[in-house]
Amino acid sequence: MSTPSYSVIGTRPIRHDGADKVTGRAIYGADFQMAGMLHGFILRSPHAHARIKRIDTSKAEVFPGVNAVVTTKDFPAVDDSKIVDLGEGNTPLRWARSNVLADGKVLYRGHAVAAVAAVNAHVAEEAAGLIEVEYEVLPCVLTAPEAMKPDAPILHQDLKMKELGETTGKVSNVAEHFRHVMGDIEAGFAAADVVVEREFNTATVHQGYIEPHNATALWNNDGRISIWCSTQGSFVVRDATAAILDIPVSQVKVTPMEIGGGFGGKIPVYMEPVAALLSKKTGRPVKILMPRQAVFEATGPTPGSYMKVKVGAKKDGTITAAQAYLAFEAGAYPGAMVGPAGMTVFAAYDLANVTIDGYDVVVNKPSTAAYRAPGAPNAAFAAESVIDELALKLGMDPLDLRLKNAAKEGTRRADGPKFRRIGCVEVLEAMKNSEHYKSPLEGSNRGRGVAIGFWFNVGLPSSCTLNVTADGTVNLIEGSTDIGGTRTSIAMQAAEVLGLKSEDIHPTVVDTDSIGFTGVTGGSRTTFATGWAAYEAAQDVVRQMKERAAKIWDVPSETVEQAGGVYRSNGHSIGFKELAARIGETGGPIVGRGAVNPRGVGGSFAGAIVDVAVDPETGKTTILRFTSIQDAGKAIHPAYVEGQMQGGSVQGIGWALNEEYFMSGDGRMMNSSFLDYRMPTALDLPMIETIIVEVPNPGHPFGVRGVGEANIVPPQAAVANAIAHAIGTRLTRLPMNPPAVMEAIWQKSTSPRS
């Protein structure tokens, strides 16, 4: 593929929503106000696992200032076997609904039990405290290995284990066991000169977006529901709310407000159906804001995991076999994202003999949700730690070992797909050639680590409408929540086609009544897919503009050419702005439409290089230098691509070093505040260097792959490898906080091992 030259793509314009966001004018979900609005509060379970024997709401209902109380009984009766798609896969409706308001049992501390609407949030909270709930407390189970034991407490009596695709009829906490097999694993290990096998554990961690969940709903007198909320997918909220309330999707309109971070965690619905129920009972709009503690205790973190990885190689570095056992904690309901872990664990390597076993295990913790390349960072922590140790044993440079076995176009993954054009080798080479990797690292207790990671990215449908205005600018209408500058990366693609500047496009994110179906802002898909819809809509505008020019010049429209916003035919020429001024006289409004369901998704590889210093007295790890390297395909707006890489890297650093759900034996998260759930601050970090690699995705008009996720996959392993080299012993458990590092140092000094 030759490198086309672009005039807008690859530049760094100011984002369109910038002024609103630096002045405080941007309206986020919690900022939404409406006349007559009531405020809700949700009562949550104090127990990790309990049967609800009785709920008495009578005292709350008569508390002054209270307008309504709801419990799961207020949901309409629906068929329990119904399956709904809540944005990232199919879920039985009964599970989706009972996570919103518990039905019969609570499955984690923080599980919603009842809700109150009142004149203000303080009154609602006071009244919620008057609701009497009688619980029969049950034993709880908090990790995958514990939950898989034969005598473990069972969360769902109706959950039957699926074994290698077959329903077994066996009641179990294991929702599913899958296996990917390629080649002959035994023969592969027999052919190896060196084999490394290790066990790994990772703690549950949270996406940690700064804006808590929020929802405002009005169940209007005509039967239609309007919802205003911060969500990654307005259409998902629409469809899920309609399913849970058993009404047609046409009866729900969702307006996506500005959103304060999501990282996958703002795809599920939590409070929208509850606010709608409260609105139905009161006839007034109801707003519910989630307290931070509830965000930790009751919204989707990413799975904790137990993993075993075994890799064998010949003396020359050729990997002969790779095996992974992945047991992931789904939380209260199945869906642990272990599937993506199985798809990505060895994706960076061209392998002949592979076996991957994955287990999706329910435990008494909040139902997990997507978190930036969900599942992949856990798996990469294990696999890339083993690869690093293998390189050490083989006496090879860790990047050379990876390059020798790197996946490329045509490589088949163990889960089936064959790679199309990918940038794995290019990313590894960029790492090797980087100033960082070439620089010396000196000093005691210091170490350098590298790792690579993969995320496949997703497509999903997107829609876009362009309206040409008479002053020669274009209004762009889209449905993708803008979490990190996508209004601009989408508008830039339309501008490129139209020969306009980024500032000539005015993008607006609209409600679900006002644009065609658009999937979630997730899966690194928005710049790829909604950008593609904008590209199609812009092509539609160009086609219509050519017709108008043809009309003015009285020539066949096929003879009109467009380049750089100038339309030409047979010696005539006219610019976009001049032509736009004449659309009224040449036939009226020009509306371009784009609706896509793209298939050409291009996966992204990302690498991390990190230098650490470990304090042998305290166990504290300091990040001295960090470089993130990622294949963007094509970076539409490089500054926001760098931003994704830096943000994902730092989330990975937090995951590696500090973040965890610190659980008591009875299932209470002991650190459910930002004070104790320790996310990186500005003081904890150096500048995060970035190297954007561009191996264009042949499946996208501009080569876009999507950059939101792969960058969080390698940091955990890279940091682990760096620490291993700094202290001479390997940590196999996340987080690698000071106590864990000290423990490893002490163990090494009492029982030295290679």
């Binding site: 002024a19 405080g24 700064i210 979490i483 830096q646 505040s673 003081l683």
Partner: protein, 158 residues
């Protein structure tokens, strides 16, 4: 219903009066009573910095200040940073450096940055990182925020 207290204060240079319950935080008053929603709530326990405002020139997390404590004090919020129709150099620097992604932490960062640069016009990178360590950002990894602050410092001195 609890009885409310009358509070007289000055916000962004304007005299403001409001009624609030003793239990209401300044953050709640700003957002719900005065409809100044530029100040954001991230944690409501003083740990994220999204609700940062200045109280008599000192930065505070407004979720940890009671509304009644504002009596007779001067408050600056994100709504008071721009100079009329012109963005403040800090706001411009945040945009030019792509120092925001979702933007929810941005008002707090800008208010805190202004408090820093008003007193220390030429802070080192380490000093900026220390001063802003009370403001959490989950999107950017802080790199571009630090660069924006450095650029703003240069421009404000010029």
């Amino acid at each position: 219903m609890r009885s409310k207290t009358h509070v007289h204060t000055k916000i962004n240079g304007e005299e403001r009066d409001f009624l609030c319950e003793p239990r209401q935080s300044l953050l709640e008053v700003l957002r719900d009573t005065l409809n100044m929603t530029g100040t954001k709530e991230g944690c409501n326990d003083g740990n994220c910095g999204s609700c940062t405002v200045t109280l008599d020139g000192r930065i505070v997390t407004s979720c940890l200040v009671l509304g009644v404590e504002a009596e007779g004090r001067e408050i600056t919020t994100i709504e008071g940073i721009a100079r009329g129709n012109d963005l403040h150099p800090i706001q411009k620097a945040f945009l030019e450096n792509a120092a925001l992604q979702c933007g929810i932490c941005t008002p707090g960062f800008i208010v805190a940055t202004k408090a820093l640069l008003d007193k220390e016009p030429d802070p080192s990178e380490e000093r900026i990182r220390f001063f802003l360590a009370n403001n959490l950002c989950r999107c950017t990894g802080y790199d571009k925020i630090i660069q924006a602050v450095q650029q703003a410092a240069k421009e404000m001195q010029a």
